[in-house]
Structures are given as structure tokens and as C-alpha cells.
């Protein structure tokens, strides 16, 4: 994000903030969707994060770290959405006139469904580290910085999240294999 835009928005320039929001909306939504697995909640979380960014920008001390800070706001908004809580919100939703985007149906639907199902077993905190690491490519120390947790906690969450994904997938595959065995 261009630091000049952030600096201007920080000083209250609404046009600058709109430019930031326009440039960041897709990224925020993509991150929120991957954590929440729900387009409407992802939209709400991304909105909350962007509006929170506008509200709290003057308190951001290091504008160079805007992107990481915004990611943190998105993740925190996802936690709130996932738990059905809303502290403050502008509950405005402009009705959609565009169909929701469809996933890439060329890929194996079955494999996607398995992962989708397994991923939903994870807590929002564990989902967040998986997405930050495997989608955004953050290293553990960067995840720790973004989430405001010790590096050891980030490492532990990632380890347990991946292990849990494996266990759920393995259990599903075992169940399928058992059904296919002759009696």
C-alpha cells in the first residue's frame, strides 16, 4: 500500500481512504472467505475490518506496516464473525445484483469437499494460521507479528491445525474404505 495514501487517510482524508479500501477490498475478502468459508460472513468481516481501519488509522504508529495491520483487523473481524458477535457495526448491506462467484469446478469436487469439511472442524484461530501460512505465505514469525501472539503459539497452532486436518481426512477416508470392503 502506498504510504502517502495511508498517511493522508490517517490524517482524515476520506478520498485517500476510499482509494485504500478499493485497493484492499479483494484482499480482505479473500482472506476472510478462506477463514470463514461463507461469502456473507466474509463480506461482513471484510467490511468490519475496512471500517475499523478507517476508524483506527490515526492510532497506527508505523504506516509501513499497514498491510500487516489490516490483515490483523481482518483476522480479528473473522473471529468475531465466527463466534456470532458484533461489537459495533454499520449494518448496511447493499443487495447483490451480481451472482456470487463460483469455485473452479474443474478441480476435483470430492477432494475439495473433503478438505472443506475437515477445515470446518478447525477453530477460527487455527484456520487463520493455516490461511496466513499456506495462502499468504507468511512465515511463523510473520504470523506471530500479525496475530500478536508468540512465535511458539503460532507454531503450535499451525502444527495442530495441519494435524487435525489430516486426522479428519484420514477418518473420512477410512470410513469410505470400510464401506467398500466386502463384509
Amino acid at each position: 500500500m502506498h504510504v502517502e495514501l495511508v498517511e493522508r487517510a490517517k490524517r482524515g482524508d476520506r478520498d485517500a481512504f476510499e482509494s485504500i479500501a478499493a485497493a484492499s477490498a479483494d484482499r480482505c475478502y479473500a482472506l476472510a472467505y478462506r477463514i470463514l468459508r461463507d461469502p456473507h460472513r466474509a463480506q461482513d468481516a471484510a467490511q468490519q475490518a475496512l471500517l475499523g481501519a478507517w476508524r483506527d488509522l490515526p492510532t497506527l504508529r508505523d504506516i509501513e506496516r499497514f498491510d500487516a495491520w489490516l490483515h490483523r483487523l481482518v483476522v480479528n473481524a473473522c473471529y468475531v464473525e465466527a463466534r456470532g458477535e458484533r461489537r459495533w457495526t454499520a449494518r448496511v448491506r447493499v443487495l447483490s445484483v451480481v451472482p456470487e462467484s463460483e469455485p473452479d469446478i474443474a478441480r476435483s469436487v470430492a477432494a475439495r469437499d473433503e478438505l472443506e469439511s475437515a477445515f470446518r472442524h478447525l477453530s477460527p484461530e487455527h484456520r487463520a494460521v493455516v490461511v496466513l501460512h499456506h495462502h499468504l505465505g507468511y512465515q511463523l514469525t510473520e504470523i506471530a507479528e500479525v496475530l500478536g501472539i508468540p512465535a511458539g503459539t503460532a507454531r503450535s497452532r499451525l502444527h495442530h491445525a495441519v494435524r487435525q486436518l489430516r486426522e479428519v481426512l484420514d477418518a473420512d477416508e477410512r470410513a469410505a474404505a470400510t464401506q467398500e470392503r466386502p463384509a
Binding site: 504506516i63 448496511v92 477410512r174
Partner: protein, 529 residues
């Protein structure tokens, strides 16, 4: 059998799956934000005048702001003892006070500032000419400043690797860092400049990485100007505040930074188990991420002990644990902890974090004392860890700390499976009968066991039982540690097919051939116990 690549494949599967998710936000998201933003007032930053609560960094920011305010008024009512220049080089108009690390720095206007929230982590300053980092360290008691500077320079060069290794620490120029003498290096191996200085036991490492297109001369002039503009607060360094943790499970006590959180182990570490920080067999003491001046705030102490077979050496212990987990260390040093000899292994990066790993041996009692932290904290962490190691007391090996012999749950594996099986990985699966010393020593079990890559590293071992015709392996070390895998068993002459049928961590089919039959080579001899 390629377990690591299986893990990598699984990671890639996750990444691919996430990649397929939507990347474009619905247009109404932005419309909503645009519509709602005008009704939301921006929060203004507030100076916290009340001290005594809240994050330390905010308190220090408040102090810095207050001092700056007083200075601007020309009052100079409060004057901290400091060492600095009488004049700051022109052009360095942006002064940043860093009370956490006892210095202040003058920078060109517009430079970005990222101050570390924990003592020992580097402060970063970013400008068009390059990136400057400042790292604070404490010089260990008994080490002179010159000796520290030499060893620190060599450590820094080793960290950079390649052509940097072996540069003579005597190739410095004398410069000034504020009113202090400093050693200045223009590295011939990288476009970087470095300066080391020390006041008493406080040491400072300043590193400057030049941006592309910036000449060495211009960068050197700027870096030297910045060094000249430094001031160093002469306030006292608080002693490292340590509390004591006593491990009833493992029979030792150790100091840890006060205010860190302790999580005790839930079960015992087996002989050559790796003390993973995310496992349940280690005592964990963890920092919060925000510190007081001179106090460590980040990091993790990962502590455990175990009983190893008589005759086990420290080197063997290291090769079967630390090197299995982290590979070859960047350095190995002899240490004495509570009178017992051991080794301190330093890993600049292992599993994404900095490791200091002490392995101690007291007869058949082995101790693992690990310090983990962000990469780049080595200087400060080393000093703190040395302080902590001085507090360690090995109070003995309680009988309860040794894992009990575990009776098997399930049936023995058939005789036809016992022995070595070749896998094209390449490698060997060993099916060992109950009572084999390797099973007993490593697993504390009276059951059969399975070993992958017996006698080598990485070795993986687990308790093996039969249940309903399936083979169950409770892995105790290696990639699947703490996971029980279930395999269907199909034996056809000298061919054995194991199919992971769930509950495990690998998946897939392992096609094995009895050693010495068909095209399978003869198995290597078992290692000497």
C-alpha cells in the same frame, strides 16, 4: 516411504485448495464501506499520562513524548544522564528515542520506524537509501568489550555465510557513535555496513543494508552521520528479573523471566524423543511479547528430561534428538550446567525460529534445555539464556520421571513379519519382537516394535500390535510422533503390502520386500546396542 515429501504434498494440497477460493470481493462490499465510512469518526491517538498500567511500550512512548515536549519548551527540567554528540549532523531531523534499548537515533526526515516491542529484538529504520537495524545486547559477565566485538563480528559473518565467513574482525575503521568509539566495517561480501559499540556491559550492533543504486560512498557517509547522531542513555540496566520454576516431573529447577507463563508437561518424554515445544512432554515457559527495559519479553523455554541407556554419550544424544529435529547446528559449544558437562547448540533458524539447545547428561539422565525466539534476537537472548543456565539445579532423577514399562494392548505381530523389509525409498522397515533392547530402551514397552531406518538418522520407531488383522503402530519418534497409524497387512510370500487405512498421518501404500529375496538387498546388520 517418503514421509517428509508426504507432508509437503499435504501442505501443497492445502495451498492448492485455498488457491481455488474466490479472490474478488462482491462489489457491494466496497459500496457498503464507502456508504458507512462518513458516519464513523476517526479515533484520535491519545497520550497516556498515567503510568503503572498498560503495555510497557505505550508507557515508554508516553515518557518519550513527555520528555520531547519538555525539551521543546526549552525547560530541560529533567535531564537524563546520556552520552551523545553536542551537535547532530545536518539533515538528520527525525530523532527517535528508544528507551527500551537505551539509545536515541537521529534519522533523515521521512524514514520509517519499527521499534521492537521486546528487548533483544532489532529496531528497524527504513529509508530510500537502505535499511538500518539496531540491536541491543548485554555483554556477558567476564567478557571484555573487545572480546565481545570480535566474537560478535565473527558470529555476524557466520550468519551471513558464503564469502563473509572468515573476514578478519580486525579490518575495522575507528568511527564515532555519538561520543563513543565504535568499530566500523564495510563488508566486502555484501552491500552492507556494520558498526559495533559498547558502553559498560551494553552492546549495540548497527547494520545498514544499502538499497539498489545507492553508492557505497553515499551510504557510508549517511551511516556514519547517523552513528554520529546517536545518544546513549546512561540509566542503569535492570538486572534480569527471574522467578524459579521447579519441574516435579523431571527433577530440576530453573530461573525464568518473571511474568512469563508456565505450562507444565502432561506426560513424560521417552528416551530419544524430541522435546517438541508443541508436545505435551515438555515444560514450557513462554514470554508475552512486551517487555520492560532490559527485561526479556519474547521467547520460549522448552524443558524436559529423560532416562537414556547406560553408555549413551552426549554426541549420540544430540544426533538422535537435536540434529534429528534441526539438522546440523550453526555452532556447538561445551557448557557446564550445575556442574554437569553438556553442549550448547545454536541454530540461527530451525523451524522458522532461533534455537539455543542445551543437552546435558548426568549418568543415564539426559536433560534438554531449549530457548526459542524470533530470528534476529541472538545477541540479547544468548546473554539471558546464560543467566538462566546459571540458575539451573539438577535435583536428581525421581523414580516417577522414568516412563513405566508399557504392557502391550493388542496381539503380537506374526512371526512371518519379524525381520527386515526393504522399501524402495530406499530404506528398511524392521519388525522387532518384544524384548528387543531397541524397543525396550526407546519405547519402554514390552510389545513388539517397528523401526524405520534402524541405526541411522532419521530413525522412526513405534510400538506395533495386531488388532483385528490390522497392524497398529503407535509412533514415538519421527514424522508421525504421537500418532497411531493403522495398516492393512497383505503378505504374499516375500512381498508385504501395508496400506494405511486411516487414523494415521501418512496415507498410502508401502510395498515391501523381505530383505535378501528377489531384487531386495540384504539388510545391513543391526546397530550395536
Amino acid at each position: 516411504m517418503t514421509r517428509p515429501s508426504d507432508g509437503q504434498l499435504f501442505d501443497q494440497r492445502i495451498a492448492d485448495w485455498l488457491e481455488d477460493d474466490p479472490t474478488v470481493a462482491p462489489p457491494q462490499l466496497l459500496e457498503t464501506v464507502r456508504a458507512a465510512a462518513p458516519s464513523i469518526a476517526q479515533r484520535r491517538p491519545a497520550v497516556r499520562w498515567r503510568l503503572g498500567s498498560g503495555p510497557a511500550v505505550l508507557r515508554f512512548a508516553a515518557i518519550a513524548a513527555a520528555l520531547l515536549f519538555v525539551a521543546i519548551l526549552g525547560g530541560a527540567i529533567i535531564k537524563l544522564p546520556s552520552v551523545g554528540p553536542s551537535t547532530v549532523p545536518s539533515g538528520l531531523t527525525n530523532r527517535v528515542n528508544v528507551p527500551l534499548h537505551f539509545y536515541s537515533i537521529a534519522l533523515p526526515a521521512g524514514w520509517g520506524v519499527t521499534l521492537a516491542t521486546g528487548t533483544g529484538r532489532p529496531d528497524s529504520y527504513l529509508g530510500p537509501e537502505g535499511t538500518l537495524t539496531a540491536t541491543f545486547a548485554l555483554i556477558p559477565t567476564g567478557t571484555g568489550q573487545d572480546a565481545w566485538a570480535d566474537s560478535e563480528f565473527m558470529r555476524q559473518m557466520a550468519r551471513r555465510g558464503g564469502a563473509c565467513i572468515g573476514i578478519d574482525p580486525g579490518t575495522f575503521q575507528d568511527v564515532r557513535a555519538g561520543a563513543q568509539d565504535a568499530l566500523f566495517y564495510a563488508l566486502p561480501c555484501k552491500p552492507e555496513l556494520m558498526a559495533l559499540t559498547a558502553l559498560g556491559d551494553r552492546a549495540f550492533i548497527f547494520e545498514f543494508s544499502t538499497s539498489n543504486g545507492v553508492s557505497t560512498d553515499a551510504a557510508t557517509r549517511l551511516f556514519k552521520d547517523i552513528l554520529l547522531g546517536l545518544t546513549f542513555d546512561q540509566g542503569s540496566t535492570p538486572a534480569i528479573a527471574l522467578s524459579t520454576f521447579t519441574s516435579t516431573r523431571y527433577g530440576f529447577s530453573i530461573g525464568y523471566p518473571t511474568a512469563w507463563a508456565v505450562t507444565e508437561s502432561a506426560d513424560s518424554l521417552a528416551a530419544f524423543d524430541i522435546p517438541w515445544a508443541n508436545g505435551t512432554s515438555v515444560d514450557i515457559v513462554e514470554g508475552s511479547g512486551v517487555g520492560e527495559p532490559g527485561q526479556p519479553s519474547d521467547g520460549t523455554l522448552d524443558l524436559a528430561a529423560t532416562t537414556v541407556p547406560p553408555g549413551t554419550t552426549v554426541d549420540e544424544l544430540i544426533s538422535r534428538t537435536a540434529q534429528l529435529a534441526c539438522g546440523a547446528p550453526d555452532s556447538i559449544e561445551d557448557v557446564i550446567v550445575d556442574g554437569k558437562p553438556g553442549k550448547l547448540l545454536t541454530y540461527r533458524v530451525c523451524k522458522d525460529v532461533f534455537h539455543q539447545w542445551v543437552v546435558l547428561l548426568d549418568g543415564t539422565r539426559a536433560y534438554h534445555l531449549l530457548w526459542l525466539n524470533y530470528v534476529g534476537t541472538e545477541g540479547f537472548d544468548r546473554t539471558v539464556f546464560e543467566d538462566i543456565l546459571r540458575t539451573v539445579r539438577l535435583t536428581g532423577s525421581p523414580a516417577s520421571t522414568s516412563s513405566p514399562i508399557v504392557s502391550p494392548v493388542g496381539d503380537p505381530i506374526p512371526d512371518t513379519l519379524i525381520g527386515a523389509w526393504s522399501h524402495p525409498a530406499p530404506g528398511w522397515w524392521w519388525f522387532l519382537r518384544a524384548g528387543d533392547p531397541e524397543c525396550v530402551q526407546a519405547l519402554r514397552t514390552q510389545a513388539d516394535c517397528i523401526v524405520w531406518q534402524r541405526g541411522t538418522t532419521p530413525k522412526e520407531i513405534g510400538i506395533a500390535t495386531m488388532s483385528g488383522g490390522d497392524l497398529k503402530v503407535a509412533w514415538k519418534s519421527g514424522f508421525c510422533t504421537s500418532i497411531t497409524s493403522t495398516y492393512s497387512v497383505a503378505l504374499n510370500g516375500d512381498s508385504l503390502n501395508l496400506v494405511d487405512i486411516g487414523g494415521g498421518c501418512e496415507g498410502g501404500n508401502f510395498a515391501l520386500t523381505r530383505a535378501g529375496t528377489g531384487t531386495a538387498p540384504t539388510a545391513p546388520p543391526p546397530p550395536t546396542p
